[in-house]
């Protein structure tokens, strides 16, 4: 049902787009018509597919590592007062640095291949995971903590068996945000320096005034980003099914 509605809206916009291009007689190097983009999508499918695969690998690996790194940060902050006092300010300050500004450095250090894009993706997403999870870890119901105290619980076990499961819905929120931003990280990485990938392809196409190729690449990226989010969301709902009742229905 939701897919149908989304498709209807999308189709409506495409029709408007086609009408606008025809009505204002826009040249293809400014705004190609949807029909022309569809044609390019078909003709250049091999190039698009090869580059898309490359970008998809960067995004998925970056997402997995970014979530792992972000979650570890949150656990470290929760477990250690020392980390809270010395690491938290640095972590917050690190978010003031624009990621774009350090992208050239990452290419210098990690090369033109996969590694620099993965690191870029990790940097873009880890903070949303860390902050959401850390927040969840701190907000454990005090009644549960009282109960744990009267049960003579061990601190580490309270963290692992009480605070962590209680914070999983918050971690899920962080991972959903990360799934949205992961493609941005990978594409920024490719713009700054790459020899493959959709971002690289878009940059090349733009320079050669092949705006139809740029649009086709954009479309592939958008479809992949939406599919990734849907997959992550479905996976999280299944994994944290006990929280399903408390989540409002989405649509």
């Amino acid at each position: 049902m939701i897919a149908l509605r989304a498709f209807a809206t999308f189709a409506g916009l495409v029709v408007l787009w086609q009408i606008a291009v025809a009505a204002f007689a826009l040249p293809p190097y400014m705004l190609p018509s949807p029909l022309r983009v569809a044609g390019t999508l078909w003709e250049r499918a091999d190039i698009l597919w090869e580059n898309a695969r490359y970008t998809a690998i960067e995004i998925v690996i970056g997402l997995v590592l970014g979530v792992a790194f972000g979650a570890s940060c949150a656990l470290t902050l929760m477990a250690s007062r020392l980390a809270r006092r010395w690491l938290l300010p640095v972590l917050l300050a690190s978010q003031a640095v624009p990621t774009f500004a350090i992208a050239p450095l990452l290419v210098l250090w990690f090369g033109y291949g996969l590694a620099s894009k993965i690191v870029m993706t990790v940097i873009v997403i880890f903070f949303s995971v860390a902050s959401a999870f850390y927040d969840g870890l701190r907000r454990t119901d005090p009644a549960w903590l009282d109960l744990a105290q009267t049960m003579n619980a061990r601190p580490w076990r309270t963290l692992w068996f009480l605070r962590v499961p209680a914070a999983l819905p918050a971690l899920g929120t962080g991972i959903r945000v990360a799934a949205v931003f992961a493609p941005i990280g990978a594409v920024i990485g490719e713009w700054v320096g790459a020899s493959r990938g959709l971002g690289y392809l878009m940059l090349q196409a733009n320079a050669r005034m092949q705006v139809d190729v740029l649009f086709a690449a954009l479309l592939v990226l958008a479809v992949f980003a939406v599919a990734l989010y849907a997959l992550v969301d479905a996976g999280l709902r299944r994994a944290i099914s006990w929280d399903a009742d408390r989540l409002p229905p989405e649509h």
Binding site: W144, T150, M151, F161, L168, W242
Partner: protein, 263 residues
């Protein structure tokens, strides 16, 4: 307060020694300049259920938390058991909200103490199933709390309290969120299952106190003090239709109204 004589029926089902009494001496507590109690003395008889009544905000729950060791008794104050050892670490806690963990099954919730202490889980889960059967939840062991009714959830909570198998049981309005019939049933089960332990139960319901308390105390005033004890006749759980219970309920309501007017 007079010393109570432990009867045979008051002994815990297990072979453990009789649960000691709880002594609170010169306890003081204030919240932001508001003195809840100052030099409060109290004694809760061993292996008996003492019910604590009083107006809202008088400090009943705070007294319970103090006994549990969740807050300190203030300078010069002391909370001790009759056997001279501390109570903190030997008391089971049961609160108004069932505080069940939504990600655990009923069985996992009952045995959560073992999980948090790092005890062997195989034996713990088997014992959890036994306790669930004792509170009438046989067949629901694998259900998550969301699949259970309010009464069932509070039964799981009761089983979790029993699982801890502590000499002291501290209950903060454990049945107040339940409907009248479920509440009557659970009062009866709790009175039966907690026999032989030193129980302190905070409640708003005079009839509940008279049904399951060996002794009823009213807490009132600011700083709060405890009233002279009321010892209803007979052994709990008492019949709510017993005329003696009903007469005492009238008297208690009268006292509570006075306490509220004085507050």
């Amino acid at each position: 307060m007079s010393a109570s004589i432990p009867s045979a029926s008051a002994q815990r089902a297990t072979a453990a020694p009789p649960s000691p009494e709880i002594l609170v001496r010169a306890a003081s507590l204030s919240f932001g300049g508001d003195v809840l109690f100052d030099g409060l003395d109290a004694r809760f008889a061993g292996a008996r259920c003492t019910c604590l009544l009083g107006p809202s905000g008088v400090g009943k729950s705070s007294l319970l938390r103090l006994i549990a060791g969740l807050i300190a008794p203030g300078a010069g104050g002391e909370v001790a058991a009759g056997d001279g050892r501390p109570i903190a670490g030997r008391a089971a806690w049961m609160s108004q909200s069932d505080s069940l963990m939504p990600w655990l099954s009923a069985r996992g919730n009952v045995a959560v103490g073992a999980r948090l202490r790092g005890d062997g889980m195989r034996a713990a889960l088997a014992r959890a199933d036994e306790l669930l059967a004792r509170v009438g939840l046989k067949g629901r062991e694998a259900d998550r709390p969301a699949a259970l009714s309010g009464g069932m959830r509070q039964r799981v909570s009761l089983a979790r309290t029993l699982f801890e198998d502590r000499p002291f049981v501290l209950m903060d309005e454990p049945f107040s969120s339940l409907d009248a019939i479920t509440r009557l049933q659970l009062q009866e089960e709790a009175a039966r299952l907690l026999q032989g332990r030193t129980v302190v139960l905070v409640t708003h319901d005079p009839l509940e106190a008279l049904r399951i308390g060996h002794r009823v105390l009213v807490m009132a005033g600011r700083p709060a003090i405890l009233s002279a004890p009321i010892d209803p006749p007979g052994d709990p759980p008492r019949d709510p239709a017993d005329p003696r219970v009903l007469a005492l309920q009238g008297e208690l309501l009268h006292r509570l109204t006075q306490a509220k007017a004085a507050a």
